[in-house]
């Protein structure tokens, strides 16, 4: 089987440090878009971004509307208890209507497409997360240095 003319492979490294649904999703879509365009993708989940790869939490990511100037409601309303869950469920419904996969599905798609998912060792210690709690798509728990080595030459996106 012959291979197409060797073009330098593009790579992106996306660092997910926040756990809001509206913060995780763009990162996953960027990574998926990279894979669809033949770009290698590496994801590094750290701090609150870890929530996206924790089995118990991945389906309950919320959207914080308080302090968000683009929120369709005043901050005083957005700050009421339970508001972020309401906002998240509204967003989920809308995404389901558009056939946008859930975060869990998205992670599966990313893994299938060859994107590499990593957890941050330091953040896991800080938040006392056991590697067994992570989704099976997470390839490994590594340090920042390891991640830089793995994704050498990649363009870095920090979210």
């Amino acid at each position: 089987m012959n291979v197409p003319a060797p073009t330098p492979t593009r790579r992106v490294a996306i660092i997910v440090s926040k756990g809001g649904m509206d913060e995780v999703f763009p990162a996953l879509i960027m990574a998926n878009g990279a894979r669809q365009s033949g770009i290698e993708a590496f994801l590094f989940f750290t701090f609150y971004g870890l929530d996206a790869i924790i089995d118990k939490k991945v389906d309950h990511l919320h959207v914080n509307m308080a302090g968000n100037p683009s929120a369709p409601m005043p901050t005083i309303v957005a700050g009421l208890p339970g508001m972020e869950a309401v906002a998240a469920s509204m967003m989920k419904r809308k995404m389901a209507k558009l056939d946008i996969p859930t975060v869990r599905e998205m992670l599966q798609i990313l893994d299938d497409s060859g994107a590499q998912l990593y957890g941050c060792e330091l953040a896991m210690k800080m938040f006392e997360v056991d590697p067994a709690e992570l989704l099976p798509q997470v390839k490994d728990v590594i340090t920042v240095g390891d991640f830089y080595d793995l994704s050498e030459g990649a363009q870095i996106i920090f979210t």
């Binding site: 089987m1 012959n2 291979v3 197409p4 879509i29 998926n32 878009g33 894979r35 669809q36 365009s37 033949g38 056939d99 946008i100 996969p101 599966q108 798609i109 299938d112 497409s113 060859g114």
Partner: protein, 303 residues
């Protein structure tokens, strides 16, 4: 009467006739003379005035202007080859038309008004962003003027687009390099005939089928399984297996039904080929590669 008398009379009569003519001649001569006498001072004066006028022109720089103009002509002659002049000749009618249109009173008025406005504006303090915004919102004349500018820009854009599509970039880049060549750009632009197509287009064909700039088959009607196989080979996806064909058949039928090329999510949910296998079947961008092989347009969407 004697014969001699008769002769004498004849001679007298002749002299009379001659003297009459002589008198007429003399009087005419006198008239000319007096005319000359009258004219001479006037002519002298006229000459003086002419000389003065020429001197005046000299003072006002007309001759300097002329001399400089000669230099310009020299430079034009040195800078233009006979081919340039020949091309210029072809364009003369258009140039004259342009000059005529420019010198229409309306256009000249507009130019004058514009120049006045520019001078006035130069003396005023520049308005802030808000001032400009206010002017564009409130002042109807400003809006009208903006519209005129926009439509002029649009025409320029159209013309530029047309001229770049008529010439390949390769011929335009060197033109932008030297000023000398720049003057030839308008005349040179229409030169490449449609038969002598620019190289990139000629290279964008696969077995006689047109290919878009980003590698998709231009018209999906041109597609045949053989073309698909050929395309797959050039993309390094060969040989095509049943699983490849399953994806390609699905992509084509989806395009025929919906008018849009399926994205990866649609392919996986519709064809039953899972994501992982899809990436293995079509390495690098699977949806795009499958669309290229299936002869359908580039898929759009982020998922």
């Amino acid at each position: 009467m004697t014969a001699s008398e008769q002769d004498l009379r004849r001679v007298e009569a002749k002299i009379d006739a001659v003297s009459e003519q002589l008198a007429a001649l003399v009087s005419s001569q006198q008239r000319t003379h007096s005319l000359y006498d009258e004219m001479a001072p006037i002519a002298t004066q006229a000459l003086g005035v002419g000389a003065e006028r020429l001197h005046d022109l000299e003072q006002r720089g007309y001759f300097d202007f002329g001399r400089e103009a000669l230099h310009v002509v020299d430079k034009v002659i040195a800078g233009y080859t006979p081919e340039d002049v020949h091309e210029l000749g072809d364009q003369v009618v258009r140039i004259l038309g342009l000059v005529r249109r420019i010198t229409q009173p309306d256009v000249l008025n507009l130019a004058e008004v514009t120049a006045d406005a520019a001078q006035d504006a130069g003396q005023q303090d520049p308005p802030g962003v808000l001032g400009i915004l206010k002017a564009t919102q409130r002042d109807e004349e400003v809006r009208r003027g903006l519209m005129v500018v926009v439509s002029v820009l649009r025409q320029i854009g159209l013309a530029a687009h047309k001229s770049t599509s008529e010439t390949s970039l390769a011929t335009i880049n060197p033109l932008l390099g030297g000023q000398r060549n720049l003057t030839r750009a308008p005349a040179a632009a229409p030169a490449p005939a449609p038969t002598q197509a620019p190289e990139p287009v000629a290279a964008r064909q696969l077995a006689g089928v047109d290919i878009t700039a980003d590698g998709f088959i231009e018209r999906s009607d041109d597609w045949t399984p053989a073309i698909g196989a050929l395309m797959a080979e050039t993309l390094g996806v060969s040989p095509l297996t049943d699983r490849h064909l399953k994806v390609i058949d699905f992509a084509r039928s989806e395009y025929e039904q919906t008018g849009a090329s399926p994205n990866i999510r649609r392919i996986t949910s519709g064809s039953g080929v899972p994501t992982k296998e899809l990436y293995a079947l079509f390495p690098r961008a699977p949806a795009k590669t499958a669309a290229k092989i299936a002869g359908i347009p580039k898929p759009v969407g982020c998922i």
